[in-house]
Subunit: 320 residues, 2 copies
Amino acid sequence: MSSLKWPFKNSAIQNLFNIDLPIIQGGMIWASGAKLAAAVSNAGGLGLIGAGSMKADMLERHILKASSLTDKPFGVNLPLIREDVEQLVEKILEHEVPVVFSSAGSPKRFTPTFKEAGIVVVHVVPSVKLAQKVEAAGCDVVVAEGFEAGGHNGIDMITTMALVPQVADAVNIPVLAAGGIADGRGIAAAIMLGADGVQIGTRFAATIESSAHDNYKQAVVNAGERDTVLHLAKIGPARMIRNDWTDRVAEAEARGASAEEMRELLGKKREMAGIFQGDTDEGQIEAGQGSGLIQDIPTVAELMERLLYETSHTVNHTLG
Amino acid sequence: MSSLKWPFKNSAIQNLFNIDLPIIQGGMIWASGAKLAAAVSNAGGLGLIGAGSMKADMLERHILKASSLTDKPFGVNLPLIREDVEQLVEKILEHEVPVVFSSAGSPKRFTPTFKEAGIVVVHVVPSVKLAQKVEAAGCDVVVAEGFEAGGHNGIDMITTMALVPQVADAVNIPVLAAGGIADGRGIAAAIMLGADGVQIGTRFAATIESSAHDNYKQAVVNAGERDTVLHLAKIGPARMIRNDWTDRVAEAEARGASAEEMRELLGKKREMAGIFQGDTDEGQIEAGQGSGLIQDIPTVAELMERLLYETSHTVNHTLG
C-alpha cells in the first residue's frame, strides 16, 4: 500500500477545501447529485452537486441529502446563466455550503456575497483573460478548463495543455486543471503543467453513484477518442458524443446555418433526454475527449483508489 | 548545475536516435533548415530539416550543410503528400540521413524502403486509429500530435492531453508527444501522459537559428493564448496566428463556403509569404497554441538549456 501515497507536495487546494486529495469532481447536469458528490467527498476528494439541472427546491433536497451522506466538505456548481440563479444562491447560503464553483457568467456578481458568508469561491474559465478577471473579482481559485472537456465549452478552443501553464503564469490564486483528465497520467500531467489540483468530469459521470442513465454511462465506455464532437459554436459550444442528432447539427453547421436555426435544431431538454433518460441517438450526450480512456463503470471508492494508485505509479515509473 | 539533469528515466527514444535528450525539433516549412536542425542536434536533441518547403536539390543542400554543422544525428521531416516525394526520398537515401519523420500520407508507402536502408522511421498522427496503422506499417516510433499544434492538423481535433495516453495504450512502439509543448512544464506533462519524448515546433521556430522571417518570430512572441485559430477544415485543417486573412477565412467558413471557395481564398504560397517573407497580415503564420508561452527569441543552445532546467525544476518543485 506504500504506492498509495499522493506523490506531490500538498497544495493550497487541500487546505482551502479541507480535503485529502486535490481531486475535484466537476458539477455535471443530470449526473452529479448528492449521491455522487458525497461519495467523492467520502473518498477524500471534493464532490460537487451540479445545480445546472436543478430548481431551487431540488438543489435544497440534494444539499440536505449530501449532508446526511457525508461529514466531509462538498460543494455546489452554479451556472450563473440561470434565470433563477438568485433562488439557487439563497439555498446555498441558507444551508452553509462550504464551497461554490461558479461558471457561465461574471464572477463579480455573487463572489462578494459568498465571501461574506465564508464560502470558498471558485470560478471556471476557458482563457487566461477570464482567469485574470476571476482573480480580480476576489475568487479563491480558478479552474482552467480546456477544449477537450465535456459539456459547455469556451469559444476560443484552447486546450488544457496550452491553457493551464499560461493561467498559472497569469494569476496568483491556485489553479485547478480541467479537460481531458480521466486517469492518473492526466492528473500527474496537470500538476506538471502548474495546476494545484484537478477537476474531473466525465470519468465521474461514468461511475455507479452518478445519476446519469445507464445508457449514457455505456456510451462513454463505448466511445473512442474520435467519438466526441464540439458543436453549437454559434449559440454556446458544447462537447458531446457523436450520434444521429449531432450528425444533423454538423451538416447544418457545414452549410453555415444561422444561430436561430441551430436553436431550433437543439430544441428543449435535449441534455435531460441524453444524460438522464438515456436517449443516446437523439439526446445530447455531454462528455469529454477523455471518454476514450474510460473502459468501465466503477464505484467512486474504487475509482478514487485507482486514480491515486495510477498517479503515484506514473510518477514512480517515469522518474530517473 | 545539479538541477540540469534530465529527471526522467532514459527512454527508448534516446537509444533509437542516439541523442542525450528526448527532445525533437519538429520539421517546419520555411523555418527549419540545416542551421536550426544542426543547432538542436548539437545541443543534445534531434533536429529535423523540414522538407515540406524544399525541392529535392534544396533538400540536398540542407542535408549537406547540416552534416557540415554537426557530427550528431539529425533527421528530415517528409510530408508524403508531395508530388515529388520520390525525388526527396532519393536524396534522403543517397545521403544516408539516419532518421525520417514522415507525415500527411500512408506510412506503408516508404517505410520498408527506409527500414531496408537502416533508417529510423517515425510517422506523425492525430488519432489512435492512425497510430495503430503506423505500428502495423513497421515504423519505429509514432508522434501523437494534438489539436493545439501549429500548422497542419488532424480533422478529429483530439488534444495532446487526451491523445497521448490513448496512443500509449494502443501501441507498443515508443510515442512522442506533440502539440502545445513550449516549456519544461509541457515536457514533464508529456512524459507523465505516457510519452517517451516530445516533438516541439513553434518554440523552435522562434529561435535565432530558425529561418523564419523576423516578423514571423515576433508575431509568435506577441501572440497570446487566444491568438491562434484553426481553419481550412474542408481542404486540410491548419493552425495559425489570427490576422486579416484568417478573419476573411473565418467569415467564409461561418457562412458555409465550399471547398473550392476555400482553395481560392487560400491561393498559392501563403505559407511562404507568412513564415519566410514576413507578411503577417496576409500570410499564413503557422503556429501552435503554445505561442502564448513564448516571450523571446533565444539561441537554440540557450533554449535547450532552459528546457532542461525547467523540466528538472518542474519535477523537483512538485514532488512531495
